[in-house]
Amino acid sequence: MSEQISHHIPEALIAAYAAGSLSKAYSLVVATHVSMCDTCRASLMAHEAAGGAVLESVAEEPLSGDLRKNLMDRLDDPIEYEADTNTPDGIYPGPVASALRSKSVKWKKLGGGVRQCIIDMDREGSARLLHIPAGKPVPEHSHGGLELTLVLQGGFSDDTGHFDVGDVEVADGDLEHVPTADPGVDCICLAATDAPLRFSAFVPRILQPFFAI
């Protein structure tokens, strides 16, 4: 399954995900990549083991007298097992598929045949799907902060290398790159940034699509 993946999530991001200190958009990329990559899943679980070691070592706090009894009294309450909705759908691993199921999302044209679909956006960042026609480039763009791009279908290349299904490209704000989709099959990626989207009227209309990448 993960044998072909050669570009992984950086260690610090996996640790931050385990600790719960990553934005939702980055968390979506990490959770999706981990669903595809056992190497990174093992990393994540190792960081959870380190978190468990910290949990074991923090100073204990005394509990109120009735907490234990209240809890023990509830153990016979019926348990409603919820169906697992974090399941894949076609090319979309569970975390993306469930994000797509939970809200109505729209694909929008970005020009040059490239389309995007925003699946999450808040003050801390945004996550979107990008659909790039086979053999076509994504218009040149730079971005404010860290950009994570995970390939879900097809593949792409830019100055930094070649990225196949499951691979993650990690680009910082300095990188101006022109990713070009492999020939043959359209490329679909999940991309996350920490820069909020700005569809401001002050941004010239023609530039808007590129700010949104």
Binding site: M1, S27, M45, E48, A49, A50, S57, E61, D84, G94
Partner: protein, 192 residues
């Protein structure tokens, strides 16, 4: 020394925590849950207070987390995660739910319900040993490093700060967990 149920009647020196958790998972054993509670609940309270929960909310979180441990016990798998890692992850999820008012994206679950096989005792023990090594390594750190590691796993550092917070040897435990994952993939393939 308690014994593992089911494994050819052979005594397995698993840790107490693992044995409690297996008793909860396999037999819905309430007294084992009581012991697990007595061990973890005071630590969980200390943990959630240190990671920013208001004192008034801390016990609610402890209660929610321990209730999830009871309800999600079928998901516990000692070949891939120690009890403390598993509870850590549940506790972080609960705190993020409260903080952000929505769940964080999670990786796909590893296994479907109802395909429990006998745990591989060698794998479980090896993972326990690696976790002990990790705990000892944490205890040996100098106070500054240790404080940094604690802050990182309590969720107090950004990912760019975490890049500098090194000091725990995670390589061997990763390889060990990876072996557990490979065994699972193999089992799942056989089931198809």
């Amino acid at each position: 020394m308690a014994t593992m149920n089911g494994t050819n009647g052979k005594a397995q020196p698993f840790s107490e925590q693992t044995l409690w958790m297996l008793a909860i998972r396999d037999r819905r054993d309430k007294s084992a849950f009581g012991k697990l509670f007595d061990h973890f609940a005071p630590r969980l309270k200390g943990f959630v207070i240190r990671s920013g929960a208001p004192a008034g909310q801390a016990e609610d979180i402890v209660q929610d987390v321990m209730m999830s441990v009871w309800r999600k016990a079928h998901m516990f798998d000692p070949e891939r995660a120690q009890v403390s890692s598993w509870i850590y992850q549940i506790a972080r999820n609960r705190q993020i739910d409260i903080l952000r008012k929505e769940g964080r994206p999670m990786p796909e679950a590893l296994k479907a319900e109802g395909n429990d096989t006998e745990p591989d005792a060698g794998q479980v023990l090896a993972l326990e040993q690696e976790t002990d090594v990790l705990r000892e390594a944490l205890n040996r750190l100098n106070p500054d490093q240790r404080d940094m590691i604690e802050k990182a796993y309590l969720g107090e550092l950004s990912h760019s700060d975490i890049a500098d917070a090194t000091g725990l040897p995670l390589g061997t435990i990763k390889s060990r967990i990876r072996l557990g994952l490979e065994r699972l993939r193999h089992e799942l393939k056989d089931l198809r």
